[in-house]
């Protein structure tokens, strides 16, 4: 069975996992991985190009496009609404804990 290091996965996913839960996940996740490994036995077509989600649009010949970066809306128009859900706001901005530390 594939070894799964729950602790480093949790770190990658920025997810706190308690000790009790880690032992449960150490059983659950390898069982799920073992199940999905059965796709190695399936036939496959060429996967879509790297970076594509393989979204099921090929049948109508569509692909994702970005709009031109133009005609910006008036500054501040949506600020209040955008911030209305944020846990902590200071002076029209989202407030966060310190990210960078001064080196000693």
């Amino acid at each position: 069975m594939t070894q799964v290091d729950i602790e480093s996965l949790a770190k990658l996913a920025r997810l706190e996992v308690s000790n009790e839960e880690r032992s449960r996940m150490e059983e659950d996740i390898p069982a799920i991985v073992e199940f999905v490994e059965t796709i190695q036995k399936a036939e496959a077509d060429a996967p879509p190009s790297a970076g594509s989600t393989g979204s099921p649009h090929s049948h109508i010949g569509l692909q994702n496009v970005m709009r031109e970066d133009e005609n910006p809306h008036e500054s501040g128009k949506f600020t209040e609404r955008m911030l209305s859900g944020a846990p902590k706001v200071v002076d029209g901005r989202v407030a966060v804990r310190q990210v960078l530390k001064r080196s000693p």
């Binding site: 799920i32 999905v36 036939e43 393989g54 310190q98």
Partner: protein, 477 residues
């Protein structure tokens, strides 16, 4: 007046009654609100009922009807799954992490329904972030199946399905990533549609697996599902995966394909029996029923449990305690992220985030995620070939679920829960439409439980699915 006279009406019947002034939109809304008060304590289909707002919307609808400006859904009381945004209203996706989140804008489907002056009764229960097949993963307690309250309604749109089945709304919207509309519709005995990927805007739907998610209707009849689908579909520049609107194509001829080799294992005998009976009746009605082969469809569930967690773990990265929702205090910003997510997400959500992180991580992404995309492309091609207009069939039929509604707590092991979606996930991988229609019932421990048949069609060919669905309703009658 007995409220059930009004709550028993389908959308089509209510439309006629409202237009003929046999009842008002306010009376109709009040009837549902009374039904909810009486029954929803036991069923728990709703997470929140918008009683006062619903009455105000009903009065506004009545004014429009008097002025003669009513539309197909004006005054019709509907319920929305708790992952569809309504500006100013809580949308929690049944998660603790969004318990106090109020939507800052309307989803496109919400906007379209508001333009028709529907009455929104409330938001319905679901598995947290639409991850599950029973609503047991809701952070706010499970919904019960109206046919037997010891059993689950299915999921993840279990609240939306139970509300329709228990006559607690005329119809509802759900979302479907791997069967989350069709499976609960089947378990509750109502109609559910997964529309062609891209035909209904996902703007304002809380995302799970973005290449799989679609919003769709749950209703008491195929006709009602069609009315609701027509009200919400259409191109939306705000969803980059939205496809251009086209006129409805006429229903195709009557060839039904059955992937026999896929129906072999794990399906309960009387479910299969009901399925065969329905096919026999359709044959009598002039349908041609033939066996087809989809060689790789049996790998769909495994492909799905790579693609979906990969996309979900990416989509759920946004819940970090900074921009919205729960925020757990910690020493530094990394601690805020980890603690908020650890405390705010439920067990199944954390499980899928970890699986998604695994299949995308360096050293594993090629063997799992990229490989899964290749098998997905193959499965999609097999569907396209089977549904070829010249040499193939017009629809593919399977039972919607391998078994009727199971008991609360029965499927504690995640893999056994995942298997409930065996017949529905292939459709999402292919992005093609499918409808679940009730096709009979069976007995379990003295209770009568519904079964359902699923029809899978060509991209944008919902009209054929509706036509076959109506024929099933007529012959099951």
């Amino acid at each position: 007046m007995d409220y059930s006279l009004l709550t028993d009406l389908t959308i089509a019947e209510a439309r006629r009654a409202l237009d003929a002034k046999e009842c008002s939109a306010l009376e109709l809304a009040d009837a549902y609100l009374e039904a909810i008060k009486e029954k929803d304590g036991e069923i728990h289909a709703y997470l929140e009922v918008w009683e006062e707002a619903a009455r105000a919307e009903a009065r506004a609808a009545d004014a429009q009807l008097s002025a003669g400006t009513g539309r197909a859904l004006t005054g019709i009381p509907l319920a929305l799954k708790d992952n569809i945004l309504v500006e100013g209203r809580t949308a929690s996706a049944a998660s603790k992490i969004l318990e106090n989140y109020a939507a800052s804008y309307d989803a496109t489907v919400t906007k379209k329904l508001k333009e028709q002056s529907v009455v929104f009764l409330g938001r319905t229960n679901m598995d947290e972030f639409a991850m599950g097949s029973s609503t047991e993963n809701s952070a706010y307690g499970p919904t019960k199946n109206p046919h037997d309250v010891a059993r689950v309604p299915g999921g993840s749109s279990g609240g939306s399905a139970a509300a329709v089945a228990a006559r607690l709304c005329a119809a509802s919207l759900g979302s479907d990533t791997g069967g989350s509309i069709r499976q609960p519709a089947a378990l509750c005995g109502v109609v559910g549609l997964y529309p062609t990927y891209g035909s209904v805007s996902r703007f304002g739907l809380i995302a799970m697996g973005s290449s799989l998610d679609q919003i769709g209707p749950l209703a008491r009849t195929v006709e009602d599902a069609g009315i609701l689908f027509n009200a919400i579909c259409g191109h939306d520049p705000r969803d980059s995966t939205s496809i251009p609107a086209t006129g409805n194509r006429p229903p195709a001829t009557k060839r039904i394909g059955v992937p026999r080799d896929f129906l072999g294992s794990g399906i309960e005998a009387d479910v299969l029996e009901n399925f065969e009976k329905t096919l026999a009746r359709l044959r009598e009605k002039g349908y041609e029923v033939r066996d087809i082969t989809l060689p790789n469809i049996r790998h769909s569930l495994a492909v799905y449990y790579i693609v979906m967690p990969a996309e979900a773990s990416t989509n759920l990265a946004r819940y970090d305690g900074i921009r919205y929702g729960l925020s757990s205090p910690a020493e530094d910003i990394a601690g805020v992220y980890a603690k908020t997510r650890g405390e705010g997400f439920g067990l199944e959500v954390r499980r899928r985030i970890l699986v998604g992180t695994f299949v995308l991580s360096a050293g594993y992404a090629d063997a799992y995620y990229r490989r899964a995309l290749g098998v997905r492309a193959r499965i999609r091609r097999e569907f396209a070939e089977a549904l070829d207009e010249a040499s193939g069939v017009d629809v593919i039929a399977t039972p919607t679920t391998p078994a009727p509604a199971f008991k609360l707590g029965e499927k504690a092991d995640p893999l056994s829960m995942y298997a409930a979606d065996i017949f529905t996930v292939p459709v999402n991988l292919a992005g093609i439409p499918a409808i679940s229609v009730p096709n009979g019932s069976l007995e379990r421990e003295g209770k009568t439980l519904p079964t359902a048949i699923q029809f899978i069609g060509r991209p944008r060919d919902e009209s054929t699915l509706f036509a076959v669905g109506v024929d099933v309703e007529k012959t099951s009658g």
